[in-house]
């Protein structure tokens, strides 16, 4: 799980152009949206692309993102639950 979390951090930084953020700055349980990393709605869509591109998971309804993308950990757990870790 930890390895997946670390991998996700790097992928997210790259996919979302978070140039001023380092992997160690992202806490696994910190909120990704709102406070925390302060991502916005376009970032949420990019995370959907990331899931498809790197993990072959397709999300049809953008509203599902709210729960899946709460934190890096919830993302990792979702990926694992889909059997795509």
């Amino acid at each position: 799980m930890d390895a997946l979390i670390e991998k996700l951090k790097t992928q997210i930084i790259e996919q979302l152009n978070l140039a001023e953020v380092k992997p160690e700055d992202i806490q696994p349980d910190a909120p990704l949206f709102g406070e925390g990393l302060g991502l916005d709605s376009i970032d949420a869509l990019e995370l959907i692309v990331l899931l498809e591109k790197h993990y072959g998971i397709k999300i049809e309804d953008p509203k599902d993102g709210k729960t899946i993308f709460q934190s890096i950990r919830t993302m990792a757990e979702y990926i694992k639950a889909q059997g795509k870790a």
Binding site: S41, I42, I48, V49
Partner: protein, 386 residues
């Protein structure tokens, strides 16, 4: 005007008064989404359009055809003679431009030169210049590109240049044909509805893309009187503001929209209660309709005028939207009709705004027309019966 609801204004009026939508399956555009999404497609092939324009230049694209046809229809309808010595401007707008053709040959262009001509017709200014050439004797051209509010800004600029004595009249409007580029792009933003869009409905899921070209001839009073012309309607107010919130989403409270509507009202000298009908931007996306609804309530309070979005007829025609909706507004004024907000069942819970869902025959003297574009560009126009 040429759009999914008709190849000219008369046909469009027939569709509007018969509640006949132009949104349906995609027939002419080749796209991987052909069977997945509905669209407001013009019911003519590129070959049909080329024949109508009577030009077999292989580098002309769908965008230029429909622009030329609609602009010419407007000029003929107005009765102006561009050779009469008065100063005529063409202010057009587009976001797609020649992309519809360029995307077909994009990869090939790296290998061969066969279709180099499409590069000439690709840019935004090209269709404007072709309109100018097609109409003839044009003194001034310019092209605006501010996404979905583009044509409203073209109307505004036309009015202002006339007001400041820089032009006597202007052919203003916008054009955007369907393209793979926009389909793919809007799909990644996940704001397309796979079914028929439902503007202002609680269960709306997104927009249907559409294509159209819409042009109006705006004249100063002096110029109009000098040539003995007759006005169809009057532009009495307009405003533009920036939402300053997000590149593509509107602020939840509709801040920019509120500013645009308020400032247009201020210019017109009308109070909110004097607006008879609002033609909403109403794309059918969860975000826009919520935001625009909030702005409407902020300005009109509990006295929201009759309103509808006509995008369930035409689809969202991007840069052309504001101009075809201006034409729809003029038709509304001329015929004392309010065209329905099709496909509506349940009002948005927190707003409880209910649009007109059936064709309504009622006196209409003043209309507010909204168009809000990506980049936070919010424009509102107010028209009055002539």
């Amino acid at each position: 005007m040429i759009s999914a609801i008709g190849n000219n204004v008369h046909e469009a009026f027939q569709s509007l008064s018969n509640s006949q939508t132009g949104i349906g399956k995609i027939n002419h555009l080749t796209t991987r989404y052909k069977d997945e999404f509905l669209a407001g497609e013009i019911k003519l092939s590129n070959k049909d359009l080329a024949d109508l324009v009577k030009d077999n230049n292989p580098d002309l694209n769908r965008n230029s055809y429909i622009a030329m046809l609609a602009a010419k229809e407007a000029v003929i309808h107005s009765g102006i003679d561009t050779k009469d010595g008065m100063r005529t401007g063409v202010i057009s707008s587009t976001t797609v431009a020649g992309m519809g053709k360029t995307e077909l040959y994009y990869k090939e262009l790296f290998e061969k030169d066969d279709h180099l001509g499409v590069l000439d017709t690709h840019d935004c200014g090209d269709s404007t210049e072709r309109i100018a050439d097609y109409i003839g004797n044009v003194d001034y051209v310019t092209t605006i590109s501010t996404a979905c509010s583009s044509a409203a800004n073209a109307v505004m600029l036309g009015c202002r240049m006339i007001k400041h004595g820089l032009l006597d009249r202007a052919v203003v409007g916008g054009v955007d044909a369907l393209s793979k580029f926009t389909f793919n792009g809007f799909n990644t933003l996940m704001i397309l509805d796979r079914e028929w869009c439902k503007p202002f409905d609680e269960n709306r899921k997104g927009l249907n893309l559409g294509e159209a070209a819409g042009f109006l001839v705006i004249e100063g009073e002096n110029a109009l009187n000098k040539r003995g012309g007759k006005a169809l309607a009057e532009v009495i107010g307009y405003a533009n503001a920036n939402d300053a919130y997000h590149q593509t989403a509107s602020s939840p409270e509709g801040y920019g929209a509120t500013l645009a509507i308020q400032q247009a009202l201020q210019m017109s000298g009308l109070t909110p209660s004097q607006i008879d009908y609002i033609n909403m931007h109403g794309t059918g996306t969860p975000n826009n309709d919520q935001s625009e609804g909030m702005a409407t309530k902020a300005v009109f309070g509990n006295q929201v005028p009759k309103f509808s979005s006509t995008k369930a007829f035409t689809g969202h025609t991007l840069a052309a939207a504001a101009s075809i909706e201006a034409i729809i507004s003029v038709l509304s004024l001329q015929n004392n009709m309010i065209f329905p907000n099709l496909n509506f069942t349940t009002p948005i819970a927190e707003l409880n705004l209910i649009p007109e869902t059936k064709l309504l025959l009622t006196p209409v003297n003043t209309i507010l027309s909204n168009s809000f574009g990506f980049g936070g560009n919010c424009s509102s126009l107010i028209f009055k019966k002539a």
